[in-house]
């Protein structure tokens, strides 16, 4: 148990940047697909370690989201770790807030918070709450945790950007199971009405939710078709192919055609840790010591291509 000292240390973002990057300035344009893949491995390791240390948290959906998160935080998001509340920043809304660990890992690697601090996940006094808390953690644009709500907030941010004629964009990530929430479809229809081409929605289509495969719990059918029927520009990619993610961000997501964008990312829940892959049981379970060590070993081996 710890308290204030740690919270203060969290804001020493510069130290981390020096640790990890050797420079206080991030050069996004220069991040190669190879580097993004490396970062994704780092993120996965950090997230799994956080959950292990906390003995609580959600590894499965953190791992499926890791590659998109890596591409966003290290190539796409126009954000400033030294000024997390910078008005003109791009926003990122983790609507599936339970996978906070993967976002915290990115915030650390990107220099918003110190690297060690994230291991206080879920402890008393930590900025790294079980679910993202914008009041406690720098770099969190909106608190989430209750599924289905974040996307509406993202729409609100995008409308504000549009009305204020700002260039920032709003990225949001929703779960496939989360798409069962009616509020998601309310947000989608509003994004279309307001022609929010500054809004890019990723669906982490890992085919699992808590009680099992979505197909069994509540079939989602063809999400691409649904988004399309609701008026989004929609595409579907392999959410673990960094090449496809980068390509989609560079082209598809950049079109200023008056339509919000949806990228359905086919992913594997637990991706990168063999025994977690495709297993509903690893949605919200922490690994024990043995499992943890195996996970890190596998992740260090790199993802099979």
């Amino acid at each position: 148990m710890f308290s204030t000292p740690l919270v203060i240390q969290v804001y020493k973002y510069m130290s981390l940047q020096e640790d990890h990057l050797g420079t206080g300035v991030w050069h996004m344009q220069q991040t190669s697909v190879e580097q993004l893949k490396q970062h994704a491995i780092e993120l996965r390791k950090t997230a799994v370690t956080m959950v292990y240390e906390a003995q609580s948290g959600h590894p499965g959906g953190s791992l499926s989201a890791a590659d998109v998160i890596s591409a966003l935080y290290f190539r796409e998001l126009n954000v400033d770790p030294t000024n997390p509340k910078w008005e003109d920043r791009d926003r990122f809304v983790l609507s599936k807030g339970h996978v906070a660990p993967i976002q915290y890992a990115a915030l650390a690697l990107r220099g918003f918070v110190s690297n060690e601090s994230v291991y206080t996940l879920r402890q008393y006094g930590s900025p790294f709450q079980g679910h993202p808390d914008m009041k406690k953690c720098p770099g969190i644009d909106i608190s989430t945790g209750s599924l289905g709500q974040g996307l509406s907030c993202a729409v609100g941010m995008a409308i504000a950007g549009q009305r204020d004629e700002k260039d920032y964009r709003v990225f949001a990530m929703v779960g496939d199971g989360e798409c069962q929430e009616g509020q998601i479809w309310e947000a989608i229809q509003a994004a279309v009405k307001y022609k929010l081409d500054n809004l890019i929605v990723f669906v982490d289509n890992n085919r699992l939710q808590i009680d099992g495969f979505c197909e069994d719990v509540m079939p989602l059918l063809d999400l691409e078709k649904k988004f399309d029927a609701f008026g989004f520009d929609t595409t579907r990619i392999d959410g673990h192919s960094m090449e496809q993610i980068v390509e989609t961000l560079d082209t598809f997501a950049k079109q200023k055609n008056g339509k919000p964008k949806c990228i359905v990312c086919d992913t594997v829940k637990g991706k990168g840790v063999s025994y977690m892959e495709d297993q509903a049981a690893w949605h919200g379970t922490a690994p024990n010591k043995e499992e943890f060590e195996l996970a890190i070993k596998e992740l260090e081996g790199g993802l099979p291509v």
Binding site: E87, S146, S152, C153, G156
Partner: protein, 316 residues
């Protein structure tokens, strides 16, 4: 302060919202209105006409309206969500909790059709529990003005303060009580009368019933202290405590007797261990189609009921 006696002019307090929000929109480009397909009825039409770029209509999708408002607030806007009280409190209850109160964002929820005022629409539309539900949430401020002018002033105050505010208006026209120059402070009760025999604490348009009852009681030689408790959260605890020496307290509200003004005052009295309370309000039952006045009568929310309760407390 001066109470316009036997006021005849009536206005719905939703009209106060319609008028005040235009004034606010003029002076502050960050004021937004988020409508949920009942803009006309909630009186946002003038605002829409004047400030289309500060207006959003999300259609019939309350939850999304709340979320969009939260998103807007993160960028510095001051959104007023506008809908009916039963939907503005309950259909978006979790969104208000998670995305407005939990992150303490600067979102205002401005609801017409409060209490029993949507009379003939029936029980499905009469919001008898909205203020109580809103009081449940940390960081939330909960307000109902007594008449047109006080409601305008309180809306302006709500816009000026930082943080979540729930504002409730009447559908029906209700008598004007206050003079246009009267000032109101959120969280501070308005003392309408001082007295020694009994204290009446009312809010919303039941204040007019309390005024009438107080006048009649005074005529019978009973001295009445009268508070307009427009803000039920944060409650003006000091004002309630100042009633404890009188000892006999009546709350009056167009709201379920559970969780609203009556409960808030009961908490203060019980913790002080001093004073006796009678709660007048909706008797924990759903409404039905009927004229508003009839519904008040059924629930014992009338001038006569207040007087009867006062006499009862006085003879205890």
């Amino acid at each position: 302060m001066s109470v316009t006696k036997k006021a005849v002019e009536k206005k719905a307090t939703r009209a106060a919202f319609g008028d005040e929000i235009v004034r606010l929109g003029e002076s502050n480009k960050d004021i937004y209105v988020v409508d949920i397909d009942i803009g006309k009825s909630c009186k946002t039409d003038k605002f829409i006409e004047k400030f289309p770029m500060q207006h959003i209509n999300v259609g019939i999708a309350e939850q999304n309206g709340a979320g969009i408002a939260a998103g807007l607030a993160t960028t510095g806007k001051i959104p007023f969500i506008s809908t009916y009280a039963v939907f503005g409190s309950l259909r978006m209850a979790e969104q208000i909790r998670q995305e407005v109160c939990y992150p303490n964002l600067n979102v205002k929820i401005a609801c017409s059709h409060g209490g029993l005022t949507p009379g003939n629409d029936g029980g499905s539309h009469q919001a008898i529990e909205d203020m109580g539900v809103m009081r449940s949430f940390p960081n939330m401020t909960v307000i109902m003005g007594a008449d047109y002018h006080s409601t305008r002033k309180l809306i302006a105050e709500a816009a000026a303060m930082y943080g979540p505010v729930y504002l409730r208006f009447t559908r029906d026209a209700v008598p004007m009580i206050y003079d246009e120059n009267e000032t109101f402070e959120i969280g501070k009760a308005k003392k309408l009368r001082d007295g020694e025999d009994i204290a009446i604490i009312a809010n919303g348009d039941t204040v007019r019933l309390a005024i009438e009852a107080a006048e009649q009681l005074e005529q019978n030689g009973i001295s009445v202290k009268l508070l307009d408790m427009h803000t039920i959260k944060p409650l003006d605890v000091e004002a309630v405590k100042d009633c404890l020496d009188i000892g006999r307290i009546i709350t009056v509200e167009d709201h379920n007797i559970l969780n609203g003004l009556g409960s808030a005052v009961a908490e203060v009295i019980a913790e002080a261990g001093k004073g006796q309370l009678a709660r007048i309000g909706v008797q924990d039952r759903f409404g039905e189609s009927a004229p508003y006045e009839k519904l008040l009568e059924i629930n014992g929310i009338t001038v006569e009921d207040i007087i009867a309760k006062a006499n009862q407390l006085l003879t205890n």
